[in-house]
């Protein structure tokens, strides 16, 4: 398909520039390792005081955490340009460029930028996940591996949808970077068992900003303590609902609003 060819061209270019900025890339990855390390230290310090968190053990929490970083990293890899939409493209007027090209502006926006720093998140996520998997003595069947892949993909879609919604707000307000940043802070904590939170927060993290479905809820199924029946299916449904809402409703009406007010 034509879009695939266009994406390929962007990627080729990006990899070329990457070779030029090797050090920046390595530093970026290192910095993500540091971020991961500090999160892990936090978890370890907590579990040095208590044997379990609302019934969830240390390795179970690590399992959830490792799982949570994988979709986060994958989304970060591909859709990083959305941050720039939230932070500068509308304010500076650069956004017009995407409206003047004969391809879907969202596709153009996303395809234009690839963020290999995110491999740091993915690598750490996979490592921790694998470690916890071993420590918990789990052994997935082929079907479960398949479901895991689906759960991860659904997680990626959730991250992308949330980012899209947050960034699209800039189409109305010119800049929504702070807001998006805060939403992202929330994802830091959604690798904890949702049961510890009040109903209000639980609801927010499950249905309003569904980071819960990225890690905790699917992980609960894989550990063997599913929090909902048909866990993975629900994850997929939530992902699709949020994507549809984010793209068809928020993004498109954001575009309309942008086109009627200009900048």
């Amino acid at each position: 398909m034509r879009h695939f060819r266009i994406y390929k061209v962007f990627m080729k270019q990006y990899l070329k520039t990457l070779m030029e900025y090797r050090t920046d890339f390595l530093i970026g990855m290192l910095s993500f390792f540091v971020l991961q390390a500090s999160n892990l230290i936090f978890i370890s310090l907590i579990f040095s005081r208590i044997p379990h968190l609302n019934g969830w053990t240390y390795h179970e929490v690590l399992f959830i955490y490792g799982l949570s970083q994988i979709p986060r990293g994958i989304d970060h890899l591909f859709t990083d340009n959305l941050w720039l939409l939230a932070g500068s493209y509308v304010k500076s007027g650069q956004f017009d460029k995407y409206l003047l090209r004969p391809i879907n502006p969202l596709f153009h926006l996303i395809a234009e930028r690839f963020q290999p720093d995110a491999f740091g998140e993915i690598i750490i996520g996979v490592s921790i996940f694998a470690y916890a998997y071993g420590q918990l003595g789990l052994s997935f069947t082929v079907i479960q591996w398949g479901l895991l892949v689906i759960a991860i993909l659904a997680g990626v879609l959730i991250y992308t949808s949330i980012k899209l919604i947050g960034a699209s707000i800039a189409l109305w307000t010119k800049k929504s970077q702070q807001f998006l940043f805060i939403v992202y802070q929330l994802s830091d904590f959604s690798s904890y068992p949702l049961s510890i939170f009040s109903t209000f927060i639980k609801t927010i993290l499950t249905f309003v900003i569904p980071f819960g479905f990225v890690a905790f809820i699917p992980a609960s199924y894989f550990i063997g303590k599913p929090v909902y029946p048909l866990t993975i299916l629900w994850g997929v449904i939530v992902a699709l609902v949020f994507w549809t809402f984010g793209y068809q409703v928020v993004w498109k009406s954001g575009l309309k609003a942008y086109e009627s007010t200009g900048n």
Partner: protein, 334 residues
């Protein structure tokens, strides 16, 4: 092929008082205000025309262009470009237009220039053969070869403008929108760009709509001129007519000791016999004379001034847009 009928665009803005108190007040109550950027404009453009679209800042030029390219929706009225309504069929319309913004580039900042071209080839889905022909032609015309491998961010403004122009033509668009393409460029580069645009228009019959502040851009390239002022089109006609009426106008500013109304009256009386279209006013503490230099030479005016006033400084300028517009409002064009 471009039809604009009774198009208006009104923006809603929120007024805020200035200063610290105003900022706090702005948290609780904001006054709404409406700005009519474009008021009921209509015109038609045929294939192959080069239109010079001029107006002061804030007059409505960019707003009009944005509506024609589909980036902005009109508040009312109809715009049709080759049978399509731009903001309804933005993607389809985009296939046939090229846009160059003088102030912002459409090229990829960090990539070598030639890579931008290969990306655009894919985005506009240009066939290999057609692309190669266009590419070779544009590279030669705009003399891009020397810096084609450099990252765009290292290019000078002149080089970048030529590159933007080439990029906008790669996909053989039928219409080219140029928004202040020569702004900030030095005279030599301006010349090259104007020549290139003219050649592109002749060779490919590309319709060119050019917004500018620079009268010489118009002089060199445009055959038809539209002037917009405060959202309304106050002139739409051939270059010749404007040239006849204003083209050769210059402006002489005289700094006179103890300048007053008397001086202005004396100058007006003197000029009435020499150049009926001459225009005198007092502005910025100077006596300003706008005159047609085909009819009246500057030395005559200066001699008169020096003989009758205590002139301690003067300057001679080419006419600017504001002068034309002022004249249009006071003198009118039939």
């Amino acid at each position: 092929m471009i039809k604009v009928k009774n198009v208006s665009k009104t923006f809603k803005i929120y007024k805020k008082d200035s200063g610290f108190k105003g900022a706090v007040k702005g948290l609780f109550k904001r006054e709404k205000d409406y700005i009519e950027a474009v008021k009921d404009i209509s015109f038609e453009i045929k294939k192959g025309e080069i239109i010079g679209y001029i107006g002061a800042n804030g007059a409505g030029k960019s707003t009009t262009i944005k509506m024609m390219t589909g980036v902005l929706t009109p508040s009312s009225g109809l715009i049709e470009v080759n049978g399509l309504i731009p903001h309804d069929n933005r993607i389809e319309n985009a296939k046939h237009i090229g846009v160059v913004f003088g102030q912002r580039t459409q090229l990829w900042w960090d990539l070598p220039l030639e890579e931008t071209f290969s990306i655009l080839k894919e985005i506009y889905n240009v066939e290999d053969q057609a692309f190669k022909e266009r590419y070779d032609y544009l590279i030669e015309l705009l003399e891009i070869e020397p810096f084609i491998k450099q990252p765009v961010r290292t290019l000078s403004l002149g080089q970048r403008m030529r590159a933007d122009l080439a990029a906008s033509m790669l996909h053989s668009p039928e219409i080219l929108y140029l928004d202040e393409p020569t702004i900030g460029l030095d005279v030599m580069v301006k010349e090259r760009i104007r020549k290139a645009i003219k050649e592109l228009n002749e060779k490919f019959q590309v319709t060119v709509i050019l917004t500018t502040h620079d009268m010489s851009d118009i002089q060199e390239m445009a055959s038809r001129i539209m002037i917009i002022e405060k959202g309304e089109i106050i002139y739409d006609g051939s270059k010749e007519m404007i040239n006849q009426k204003f083209g050769n106008n210059r402006r002489l500013d005289l700094k006179i000791e103890d300048l007053d109304e008397e001086h202005m009256k004396m100058m007006q009386d003197f000029l009435r016999e020499q150049d009926k279209s001459a225009y005198v006013c007092i502005e910025d503490n100077a006596l300003s004379v706008t005159f047609n230099q085909d009819v009246l030479s500057v030395s005559v005016i200066i001699s008169f001034a020096m003989a009758n006033f205590k002139v301690f400084d003067f300057s001679l300028k080419d006419q600017n847009i504001e002068d034309i517009v002022k004249k249009l409002y006071t003198g009118g064009v039939s």
